[in-house]
Amino acid sequence: MHPFTYEAPTSLDAVLSRLGSAGPRAGLLAGGTDLLVQLRGGRAAPPVVIDVKKIPELRRLELDDSGLRLGAAVSCWELSRRDDVRSAYPGLMEAAELIGSMQIQGRATVGGNLCNASPAADTIPALIALGARAVLAGADGERQLPVEEFVTGPGHNALRPGELLVELRVPPAAERSADAYLRFTPRAEMDIAVVGAGVSVTLDASGGCTAARAALGAVAERALLVPEIAEALIGGPVDAEALERAAAAARAAARPISDKRGTADYRTRLAGVLTRRAATCAVQRAGGAQ
């Protein structure tokens, strides 16, 4: 591994000041499950590695009536210990618990999964489906971006020099709403999504869908918010016809490449299948009859 200096600032002000002086080549270290592999493989060689796990704002994990505040340095394992978060956002929890292995989840963070910006990242479609926002801090202050705008390309995000991701904010789960995340991998575990689908729905008292958001992963250069899937689900009961329209919308939106994990044609077809299944699951969880 290329040598670097290691620093662990203990406040947000300290890290922002350090990022300002260290320039764009500082590597930010949360869980390290992506960064250390990149450092070892020579894909990244920052002269300074800044550990953000001692910054209190990045360790926040709070759920209340205003929603979820998930600090960028909170690990998937820590998140998994929260039954209240699991109950409010089962799809997000599913996504976080699909990353890697138990060992990986012991360190990996949802914030890091987002910043690493793999097109196949598991938590990103789940976050997008929930309407999550990324809170960024820099020398000029704080700004927020919808998660679907935070990733700008494979391995690239919207952080400007001197900025870091502080937390993710997820809106409160409305009554009769639920989310689900499904992915396809050839192996049961320890694999990278061939396709990922995150769906969130809100139902009315008679089971009709009044709101929805859906996102696809691994079928484009970044996770896609697909409004057409939501349109297919909204406006009535989520019946077989609505699900088929949603699946068709997913297939139309998917623009995957063919690579070692699957052909473009296969991934397109899977996008429809997983969207249908994720939507069905979300509806069931939200209290809909199926």
């Binding site: 591994m1 390290g32 590695v49 292995s101 060992q103 012991g106």
Partner: protein
């Protein structure tokens, strides 16, 4: 440009330890090369095989993906800490170790420390795991020799014995 050496102190298997290390040394490097605790193995260096599994503040992790610098002040558990050593008598093996031997859940043994640590972590959090739960929890540990089945039987049997003992 070389990083300055860092002074890192932590507890390993209940004993205090301190090392001087380079920033780019991982916890795995330090356990093996500085502390000579060679029970923890390097299989892939990318977090895919689990041979380097340890517990860090009670959490199961791959030590190849943790910088030693990140572990200052922490509590670490390695395979060397499983058996109970008392004086000159033979160490008392952890139930998992006994069951792995009884069930022949190892051949070359290179994956075994990682499996023991991972299984120990599972049983600490879930004393009555189903076979599926065991397989999923251990999916971060790879074995080229056994085909996994004997490992799963050993963990199931250990869980049953540990439950009966409480």
């Amino acid at each position: 440009m070389s990083g300055r050496k860092l002074h890192v102190s932590f507890t390993v298997n209940g004993e205090p330890a301190e090392v001087l290390c380079e920033p780019q040394q991982t916890l795995l490097d330090v356990l093996r090369d500085e502390l000579r605790l060679t029970g923890t193995k390097e299989g892939c260096a990318t977090g895919d095989c689990g041979a380097c599994s340890v517990t860090l503040d009670g959490t199961l992790v791959c030590s190849c993906l943790v910088l030693a610098a990140e572990t200052d002040g922490s509590t670490i558990g390695t395979v060397e800490g499983l058996a109970v050593h008392s004086g000159e008598e033979a160490p008392e093996l952890h139930p998992l170790q006994r069951k792995f031997l009884e069930h022949a859940a190892l051949q070359c043994g290179i994956c075994t420390p990682g499996f023991l640590i991972a299984a120990g972590s599972l049983l600490e959090h879930n004393p009555d795991p189903s076979e599926a739960e065991i397989r999923y929890w251990l999916s971060g540990n790879l074995c080229r020799c056994t085909g996994y089945d004997k490992i799963v039987r050993a963990v199931l049997d250990t869980a049953a014995e540990m439950r009966a003992a409480t």
